[in-house]
Symmetry: C2
Subunit: 467 residues, 2 copies
Amino acid sequence: MNDDSAQRIVNALRRRIAAGPPGAQLPPTRTLVAEYGASPVTVQKAMRQLNALGLVESRPGVGTFVRAARTSLPADFGWQTAALGARRSRMSGLSSTQRASGADVIRLHSGYPGDDLLPQRLVRAALSRAARTQAAVTRSPAAGLPELQAWFAAQVAAAAPAGVTPPAGRDVVVTPGSQSGLSSIFRAVVGPGEPLLIESPTYWGAILAAEQTGVRLVPVPTGPDGPAPQDVDRAFAATGARAFYAQPTFANPTGCQWSTRTGDEVLQIARRRGAFLVEDDWAHDLGIDAEPRPLVARDPDGHVIHLRSLTKSVSPALRVAAVVTRGPARDRILADRAGESMYVSGILQAAALDVVLQPGWATHLRTMRQQLRMRRDLLVASVREHAPHLRVDHVPRGGLNLWVGLPDGTDVSRTVRECEARGLLIAPGEEWFPAEPAGPFVRLNFAAEDPGRFAEAAQILGARSAG
Amino acid sequence: MNDDSAQRIVNALRRRIAAGPPGAQLPPTRTLVAEYGASPVTVQKAMRQLNALGLVESRPGVGTFVRAARTSLPADFGWQTAALGARRSRMSGLSSTQRASGADVIRLHSGYPGDDLLPQRLVRAALSRAARTQAAVTRSPAAGLPELQAWFAAQVAAAAPAGVTPPAGRDVVVTPGSQSGLSSIFRAVVGPGEPLLIESPTYWGAILAAEQTGVRLVPVPTGPDGPAPQDVDRAFAATGARAFYAQPTFANPTGCQWSTRTGDEVLQIARRRGAFLVEDDWAHDLGIDAEPRPLVARDPDGHVIHLRSLTKSVSPALRVAAVVTRGPARDRILADRAGESMYVSGILQAAALDVVLQPGWATHLRTMRQQLRMRRDLLVASVREHAPHLRVDHVPRGGLNLWVGLPDGTDVSRTVRECEARGLLIAPGEEWFPAEPAGPFVRLNFAAEDPGRFAEAAQILGARSAG
């Protein structure tokens, strides 16, 4: 016996093991002795080495087998730390609104309507129809299906007053959801390191997209009628920013709508400052007590970059949104989209267009609106009844959410954790602030959960947020 | 008559015009005289002003009407020039491979297979089935549907040798097409201003994504067996790059496949240099004479970031691809995806998974392979027969394209234009070079056009590219 011959057998058997299936039986020692011209002791030594390497296992009285779970060294990803360098964004990309939840939990944390509020029949029929067309097997143009572009443009044109030429189909860039539109707008129109005015509080996804792009956020406080125009003007002047991201219609999280006057004044400021107003019209279809008044309809000179999504009114699975804008900004955004994703699935575009062209679409919007009103009113009443110490400063005029102030000094994270322990998922308000939160808030979605559970939810939240 | 009363009538009528539909008839002068208590001269003066403003038009003998084309000042987007600043990328995002084409044109310019090469029946049936499931009306997880993640992981695991732990489902991030994967990898793993090694020639979409991200491209020449490992090592050493983008399997545009040895050596170099190898396995399903050998299967430590797409083998409308990678790089990429697009349509994911799990999928792949072989051979033979002065250095072993060298000194743009004038669309080679083209080349797609027209195409190209 010598070490070299044991090693020779080990090497030969390793090749054999690598070539064969896991679980295969190795020949008995006497066969290997003959095959390799070695002593039984040498063969047994080789087998012990293979066993130590984790490549085989012996089952006493049965034989030796290739390990079913193939052995490997523990993976070492430590080298990536140097290759990747420091993180460029503090955000992980995962929001508390996206947490999965157990079966019996009350879910007021998400940002989507429940599927009972969606036009399910229209969506399923539209997808089945689209599956039979060429849209199922062909590439679509970079800017989107022309018919869908035209529909988005017509939606804006319908609100345009006399004297303003409304955008045309070519001014529309279809994107796979509004998050993609935000990312492209921030990359193409603002750029890394550059300042961007942003309402506070505002949509966490916009904050995330901005941070991923590396733009510098300049928060502007916003209230029930929108931001104070002088605050906007001052922020433009102080930072030299060339863009302002805002949700004039049923803002997320508050559900407030800018007054007509605020809209006019902010638009004038943008004109005077040579700046863009990025109008995220996410809740266009989700009005409860008010109609949307998109500012893009009153903008002849390409100051407004308008973002409209169908995700929350048609289906979260039909990822279709549109950026409506004019001038070179449109070309920059389209170039960014082409570099980012080339084009949007024609199936989704064809199905989305089919849905919004059905007579049932208008009916659906009316029904959804009634549902939202009923649910909103019930949640507001529940909170006022069961948690009267909480602040509901603004009853949302549209959207899916109620923004609730907790007593000063409340530890929001603890409240959220304690509610979760009692079976209620809510979203902590800090995610909607581009900087420190202005106070302790939580956001409650009234469009996803069974309204029959709102009273229970308000009781849990009330008990866990006593001042 | 006085100017004030004319102005008063103008103002009143402007409000009326703005509120009413275009084309509406205005009341006759005598009615307006009565209505506004003004003289006929004053009313006529007001009407002339409205006409000068372009708000109304009079049709002699009929009446005065609100102009159908509502008047507006010409839009002025000049201010955007200052707001947008200089362009950060020289590329417009539109490639010559994406040109639309007339009816009778011979199309060898595109990057996609024709729909007769796609599993149309499977795709349509899968979409119809998915339309009936919850996938049609719900949001899907940020990293993708778990079943689809598991399928992509299993595809890699099937090629993993003993001793290497293959990636698991959680190592997979589903993206809406591979272009999105490329963008996220370049943003999350390389970053603006940082160097990225890249084969030359290589896929124009990768060059585009890299330029949009602002990474600095470092071209490495590649040949029939892949790049020379010492070139790769030298480029890493000279630039300090931490990533290399490559297509080891049936590269676009050449159809070449790296030798096993090149793959092993480049992988070892990446390990030694603490760098990532971004393996774009776009043609995994498009092998003709060879099987794919994904390098990710031989990488235990997260050096390979593997990109696999179903766009070209399932359907261009099912935008589904996957990034397979391990370690912190996976978390960075997932965070970038969440910021960029939140999640991928569950409908597309469910349908894509349905297709690849059908028994018909394997049959489809075999049929497609035979079709590709037949078409490739016919195009190669046609070029050799009708344009013998052109160089077909490598018969592609997989993929959709033939890379053809023109005689030295050929003006490729002129050849492409002249071919187009004679009804043949081809793609100029320069789009595949990260820097200056190494010579005059064109790319011919053999998978989209009717092969019955290949001879004619070769004749046109031959006649337009004589040395």
